[in-house]
């Protein structure tokens, strides 16, 4: 469904941020992209969704295929029309609009009013809290509610694939649980996900397949359950050492030495 082949991304014609990234998302799958700060996860997502341009970035090599059609360097609006919606990090709701107006904007491509209404009802069934907050100005909603709204807004577009960036970032554990519960329900409905997360434990709990990224490269990939058992992933991304204990911050140099995939 979504395929990246040796994708390179350059910012301002100078900074090479992605160095030959290849990955694949099959229909109905949830694929997670894990990695630390600055690994290139969000850049990968922006390259897919066409929002790189606003940051003076460009896909300088390789190809990105959505349902077999190349989408690298096309306008973001064209990518949405092709069936991929990007939920951006930082809870970018339309702050001065109400929750329901945000949802209507999300579903603006619905063929008619009846279909728009049907999609709204679907979102309110999926996320009942949004029904209660429909007239609330979205800028005044809590962080968790805004994240749920963004997911609802993406669902309103009835996309083939939802690419979601850091859905748990800055949220309380209870709220992370609620957000992932909604994602689980969507997955059960057959929605395809491309999930970019630093919260590896949460991402691996829902993903079918996962890729690990470091310094603009994919360094590891495999089925999510196997990656969750991988010693390196456990140590570097789940914060658990081979002995099952959490590492002391004192041993950070030891962490660095063990990152053998960088060697």
């Amino acid at each position: 469904m979504l395929e990246l082949n040796n994708v390179e991304v350059t910012y301002s014609d100078v900074i090479l941020a992605l160095k030959g990234v290849s990955m694949r998302v099959q229909k109905g799958q949830c694929v997670a992209l894990l990695g630390g700060n600055g690994a290139g996860k969000s850049t990968t997502l922006k390259a897919i969704s066409g929002t790189l341009r606003s940051e003076d970035g460009t896909v300088s090599a390789g190809s990105i295929l959505l349902e077999g059609k190349p989408i690298q360097n096309v306008e973001a609006s064209e990518v949405v029309r092709a069936g991929l919606v990007h939920v951006m990090e930082g809870r970018r709701v339309l702050r001065h609009l109400t929750s329901e107006q945000n949802l209507i904007v999300g579903g603006h491509m619905a063929p008619d009013a009846a279909e728009l209404r049907r999609r709204l009802d679907h979102v309110y069934t999926l996320i009942p809290r949004l029904a209660d907050l429909r007239h609330r100005t979205s800028g005044f909603m809590s962080g968790g509610e805004q994240q749920l709204l963004l997911i609802g807004r993406a669902v309103m577009a009835a996309p083939g694939i939802i690419a979601i960036d850091e859905p748990s970032l800055g949220l309380a554990p209870m709220m992370i649980r609620d957000v992932y519960e909604v994602l689980r329900q969507l997955k059960a409905e057959g929605t395809t996900f491309f999930l970019v997360e630093q919260n590896s434990a949460a991402a691996l709990s829902i993903a079918d397949h996962a890729y690990v990224m470091e310094n603009g490269r994919i360094v590891l990939d495999g089925p999510a359950d196997k990656l969750a058992q991988n010693e390196d992933v456990k140590e570097f991304y789940l914060g658990v050492s081979a002995s099952g204990e959490r590492k002391s911050y004192r041993d950070i140099k030891h962490y660095r030495r063990r990152k053998r995939w960088l060697g």
Binding site: G50, S77, V80, L97, Q101, R153
Partner: protein, 294 residues
């Protein structure tokens, strides 16, 4: 007392005319974050188009007015395509400089095409004023005021209730988020310029009906500036109240204070209000205030 009420009503109607021109500012600013300093020149271009179709081509008003609005829309579209579409995402400073350049260019084009001669403008609205007892209300301003209120209510409904309008409102909030939802930012901005040019042309018809047409009439663009800033640059509905406030204060100052200070205070007072509002409440009475979660 009757004269006082008459001055208040006339001031309110003039304020509504400013609000109509300011509506062009606001529609363009909402979509593109461009503060169009050439809005007054759009009024003049609209005025010359109406003059050309009505008096030069000799078309019937029922034909020339719709044709003029279409032609004004085309001019707005071309200005956006030629000068502004490449500036999406650029700094506010670049945008401001381009609209100031546009102001000078459009003045030059008007002078080049039509010369500095004063021309008669067609009589679009009845010249005979409306008499309400001892009060006298100019008919063009009365019809213009009603048109402004209808336009403000219609556009508020469009921007807040319809899918197309909400698309444009999303563009007004955040270009990147809007495009990530499949909204054509360029299309929305182009439509805003078309709408801005059409509103300016309607303003020209009300302002100039039965008067003289010269490029000096572009000053109405600057007169509308305080109204746009008082209302808040994102608020269409707020323009009505802001227009009435500015218009009434200007009218009362002109009629009751100017005789004591030797004149001109009436033309200055809207800008004093503008400076005060920028200092006290920079987002205006109804503009979007920054919402930051901490």
């Amino acid at each position: 007392m009757v004269y006082f009420i008459n001055d208040v009503i006339t001031g309110a109607l003039i304020g509504l005319l400013y609000a109509l021109v300011a509506m062009g500012f606001v529609v363009i600013y909402r979509a593109s974050k461009v503060f169009n300093f050439a809005q007054g020149e759009l009024v003049i271009i609209g005025g010359f188009i109406v003059w050309f179709t009505t008096l030069e081509l000799g078309l019937n008003l029922w034909l020339s007015i719709p044709l003029s609005l279409v032609l004004a829309g085309v001019v707005g579209y071309l200005i956006e395509r030629i000068f502004l579409t490449r500036l999406i995402g650029e700094s506010v400073f670049s945008m401001v400089m381009v609209t100031i350049g546009l102001l000078i260019l459009l003045r030059g084009v008007v002078l080049l095409l039509f010369g500095p001669a004063v021309r008669p403008f067609p009589i679009i609205f009845p010249l005979k004023p409306l008499f309400l007892g001892d009060m006298l209300i100019p008919m063009n301003l009365l019809i213009g005021g009603i048109l402004t209120i209808v336009a403000a209510v219609g556009l508020s409904w469009f921007f807040n209730r319809t899918r197309s309008g909400l698309r444009m409102t999303a563009v007004a909030e955040d270009h990147v988020v809007a495009s990530s939802m499949g909204i054509s930012v360029k299309g929305s901005i182009a439509f805003a310029w078309i709408l801005g040019a059409v509103l300016s042309t309607i303003g020209a018809m009300i302002f100039l009906s039965g008067k003289s047409l010269t490029f000096l009439a572009s000053e109405i663009g600057f007169a509308a500036l305080p109204v746009a800033l008082l209302a808040g640059l994102e608020s269409i509905g707020g323009l009505i109240l802001a227009g009435i406030i500015i218009g009434v204060i200007q009218s009362l100052t002109t009629n009751y204070l100017d005789p004591y200070v030797g004149g001109s205070l009436g033309s200055v007072v809207p800008y004093v209000i503008m400076l005060a509002i920028l200092l006290i409440r920079p987002t205006g009475l109804f503009g979007w205030r920054t919402i930051e979660r901490v």
